[in-house]
């Protein structure tokens, strides 16, 4: 009989984190990178909720999670706007194509 405990949540969150990091660093599509970031954010949110449930933090964690969700949304909104602008100028959404600024 499997008891779902804090460890499971944490492992899941860690896995999410890794996925997110992987996505962020491999996706050429800007939206893909953003999604990667969202995955990491969700990993953090999962952590927070899990800690809130199993730890001593109480409601703090859940409140924080709400904040994280809102922030993620805001971030996505801004990001998408910028991506659109990027697409308008460069006619692509490939983040790697934007490499004029370097060195």
């Amino acid at each position: 009989m499997l008891t779902i405990g804090l460890t499971h949540y944490l492992v899941l969150a860690a896995a999410l984190l890794c996925c997110g990091l992987y996505v962020m660093t491999t996706k050429r599509n800007a939206v893909g990178i953003l999604i990667g970031a969202e995955l990491v954010l969700n990993a953090a949110a999962l952590n927070l909720v899990a800690f809130a449930r199993y730890g001593a933090g109480g409601l703090d964690g859940q409140v924080a999670t709400l904040f994280v969700i809102v922030l993620a949304a805001a971030e996505a909104a801004i990001a998408i706007a910028i991506f659109v602008n990027y697409y308008r100028v460069l006619a692509t959404i490939d983040a790697d194509r934007g490499d004029t600024l370097k060195g």
Partner: protein
């Protein structure tokens, strides 16, 4: 300052005033006024020096001692006070007189000589410059003569060098002249390098640069058994004291054109002839001998031997080369070198008086001959090649006659046993006599060394007598002489009694075995092998035959025979302004000889009597003057020489006339027959070539290396950093495509830039990589936190 000192100092300053006047106003004075200003200045000096000489001869010993004031503080080196003052003694007085007198003659001659010389180049007159330099020279030379400290000596030493440089390069529009000037200065500087190091050693060991002070401390150091005299304390088995003497003598090697630094003097003939007469024959080049005389008290036996050997080599080489020279001035130049060699030899073997005496007589007759040659050159429109002259006696009778006087003087003409003769007869022969004495005479004279205990005794004795007291009487000196030439320890007791111990020549076996006592004292025994001393006598004697030969050759080729170049002959003439000084000098050559000068020189020898290594010898028989302080050589010495060199001048003259009497034909044949020898001599033993390759080339290579080093290596962190960068970039996989850079800055800059490239490597422009980098960095920290953190 005492009156005599005042005369001398004023006599020094008048030429300086003349120099300043001419330097600022010379151009306006123009020709010939500028020349007469100079003559006036030096004549005034000469008058003062005559007055000083007169007063000096009328002073008794106490008065002379009292006449010497000073020294005066000049500057402080650390805590040591450096002084300047007038070195007032007979030698100074007579040298001063000689310099001013000869200068006056030559200045007058110059007014005539330069009148006929083109002094304008590109319409710019340099006439006044000539006399400006001459005045400066006289100032410097007179300063050198009166200097009482090694420092002042050195300063004036360099100043005469400067004048020599300026005057040799007087015709500097000619490349050869400016090169010769440069060569002279730099060669002299090589010698001065030794001089400076010597000065340093004097300062270190004796803490005093004044001549009297250094001499006194040197003697005290000897008396105290100082390590200064310990061969083990110096390099190459020579004691520091020996090194000190030898290095000081290096200055003289340069200035007096001794082997191996003699190469500059023949080239110096590029200067106007009066300059050759004044500077490169009579005065400046003799300053080396004068210096040696002044530092004689600081010379150890080994150093004296060094001096003698150098002198001997020089006189030989120069005399041989002089045989084949065709330029009249070059002949005289080599003859000068040769005669200077004789003087040095004299100094080295201990013929202090004779050497200086030779200096004085040589000054007169060589100046005479140079001026004569100047007259000839001027008369022949700047023709210097003797092969084109001949028969000039008709056109220049006075010159011819006075020149002959000079030739006779240098050849040592005189009537043996009659005390009748010209300069060289007395002076050169006395040098040879002393050399003979060192080689074959009494052993104890040759071995100028002391056993420790004897030295101590001597030192005590001298201190008791008041070592610095110049009034030590002859009798006193005679008393201590035997003791000062130490006997081997075993023989000491029996031999230290009183009169000099005579020993048969055959008995004078070199004592090569080391005596324990001598070794313990740490002092060299009679330096050098016996054969060397014999060579130091035999070789100069042989050269005494060569001297008359080449001088007569020169005279004959110039004045006798038939004119060989009618263009030259037709224009030849002489002018009174120029031959009058010749006459004066010719007279001087006669009277300068024995009775006027030698006694004064001998008086000057007083200071020598305080030297620890008293090896001053003089011709006892010839020295009628009772002021001589030193060891009279065996009377037999000079007598024995009569058959050896007494008639050398006759033989030399006859040979020369025999070969050149009928022109050059025979000589040419001889030259052809002796081709290799002739070539060797013509090329002056290839010294210039050798130096050209080894020294000049060496320096050129060095400077190329240094500058190359500067350009490419110092920088060199450049190469190093370049290498490091490459290694570093190999590790990091960065390929740097930088070209070569120069400069340390660029080197550092390059590394920096490379590092800059390295740190910008992540800045590839793709945001994914940025995130990867950032996440990776965080991961590193996380890993550190998880595993690497020290608990």
């Amino acid at each position: 300052m005492s009156p005599i000192e005042t005369y001398l100092v004023t006599g020094v300053l008048i030429p300086l005033a003349g120099f300043v006047l001419l330097a600022f106003l010379g151009g306006r004075l123009g020709k010939p006024a500028a020349g007469w200003v100079a003559v006036l200045a030096i004549a005034a000096s000469c008058g003062l020096s005559a007055k000083a000489l007169w007063d000096w001869t009328h002073l008794d010993a106490a008065g002379r001692l009292a006449a010497r004031t000073g020294p005066y503080e000049w500057a402080r080196l650390g805590d040591t006070v450096l002084t300047v003052g007038v070195n007032l003694d007979s030698l100074t007085i007579i040298m001063f007189f000689m310099v001013t007198l000869i200068s006056t003659c030559i200045f007058v001659f110059s007014v005539g000589y330069m009148a006929g010389h083109s002094d304008e180049i590109d319409h710019v007159s340099k006439y006044h410059r000539f006399f400006t330099y001459l005045c400066l020279f006289d100032f410097s030379m007179l300063l050198l003569v009166i200097a009482d400290s090694l420092l002042l000596l050195f300063i004036s030493w360099e100043l005469v060098g400067l004048c020599s440089y300026l005057l040799i390069g007087y015709y500097f529009h000619k490349k050869s002249a400016s090169t010769a000037a440069m060569k002279a200065f730099i060669t002299n500087r090589v010698g001065d390098l030794g001089f400076i190091i010597g000065l340093g050693l004097v300062f270190v060991h004796l803490h005093d640069l004044s001549l009297a002070g250094a001499a006194a401390k040197f003697r005290d150091a000897w008396a105290a058994g100082s390590p200064l005299f310990d061969p083990a304390a110096g390099l190459l088995g020579l004691s520091p004291a020996t090194w000190m003497g030898m290095l000081l003598f290096c200055g003289a090697i340069g200035k007096s054109a001794q082997f191996p630094l003699h190469v500059w003097l023949p080239d110096a003939m590029e200067g106007p002839t009066p300059v050759s007469a004044l500077i490169h024959a009579a005065t400046m080049v003799a300053a080396g001998v004068y210096l040696t005389a002044r530092i004689f008290v600081l010379l150890t036996p080994e150093a004296q031997l060094f001096v003698a050997v150098i002198g001997c080599i020089t006189l030989t080489l120069a005399a041989l080369v002089a045989i084949v020279q065709t330029d009249i001035k070059k002949v005289l130049a080599y003859s000068t070198i040769s005669q200077l060699g004789y003087m040095m030899l004299g100094m080295g073997v201990g013929a202090w008086i004779a050497a200086l005496f030779h200096l004085l007589t040589h000054a007169f007759f060589k100046a005479l001959m140079f001026l004569g040659s100047g007259q000839v050159i001027e008369g022949c429109h700047h023709e210097q090649d003797m092969r084109k002259m001949g028969g000039l006696w008709r056109k220049m009778p006075v010159t011819c006659a006075t020149f002959l006087v000079g030739v006779l003087a240098i050849a040592g003409a005189g009537i043996p046993a009659a005390h009748i003769g010209l300069g060289g007869y007395f002076s050169k022969d006395e040098i040879l006599a002393v050399a003979w004495h060192r080689a074959y005479g009494r052993e104890d004279h040759g071995a100028a060394q002391s056993h420790g205990s004897v030295a101590q005794a001597n030192g005590l004795w001298r201190m008791g007598k008041g070592p610095t007291a110049p009034e030590v009487s002859v009798a006193d000196i005679d008393q201590f002489i035997p003791a000062s030439w130490a006997q081997p320890p075993g023989e000491h007791a029996s031999e230290s009694g009183g009169a000099a111990h005579h020993r048969p020549v055959a008995d004078a076996t070199p004592r090569e075995e080391t005596h324990p006592g001598a070794a313990q004292a740490g002092h060299a025994r009679a330096p050098g092998p016996r054969w060397l001393w014999i060579a130091l006598f035999v070789v100069p004697v042989i050269m005494a035959y060569v001297t008359p030969f080449y001088m007569m050759r020169a005279w004959w080729l110039t004045f006798m025979g038939r004119p060989r170049d009618h263009h030259v002959y037709d224009h030849a003439h002489e002018s009174p302004l120029m031959y009058l000084p010749l006459v004066v000098l010719a007279i001087g050559t006669f009277v300068s000889s024995y009775f006027l000068f030698r006694p004064l020189v001998a008086e000057g020898a007083v200071q020598m009597s305080t030297a620890p290594f008293l090896t001053m010898l003089y011709d006892g028989e010839a020295a009628t003057a009772e002021h001589a302080h030193g060891v009279p050589i065996d009377h037999a010495a000079h007598r024995a020489l009569v058959p050896a060199v007494g008639f050398a001048f006759v033989i030399g003259f006859v040979l020369a006339i025999a070969i050149y009497g009928r022109g050059l034909a025979l000589a040419t044949k001889l030259a052809a027959a002796l081709r290799p020898l002739h070539t060797l001599l013509e090329h002056k033993f290839y010294f210039d070539e050798l130096y050209g390759v080894v020294l000049v080339g060496g320096v050129a290579a060095l400077r190329a290396v240094s500058y190359g080093f500067d350009k490419y290596v110092v920088d060199g962190l450049v190469n190093l950093s370049g290498l490091l960068t490459r290694v570093a970039s190999w590790f990091s996989g960065v390929i740097l495509d930088q070209g070569l850079v120069d400069g340390l800055v660029n080197g550092v800059g390059r590394v920096t830039y490379a590092l800059g490239g390295l740190v910008r490597r992540p800045q590839v422009g793709r945001v994914r990589n940025y995130i990867l980098f950032a996440a990776g960095s965080v991961a590193v920290v996380v890993l550190w936190a998880a595993f690497g953190r020290v608990k």
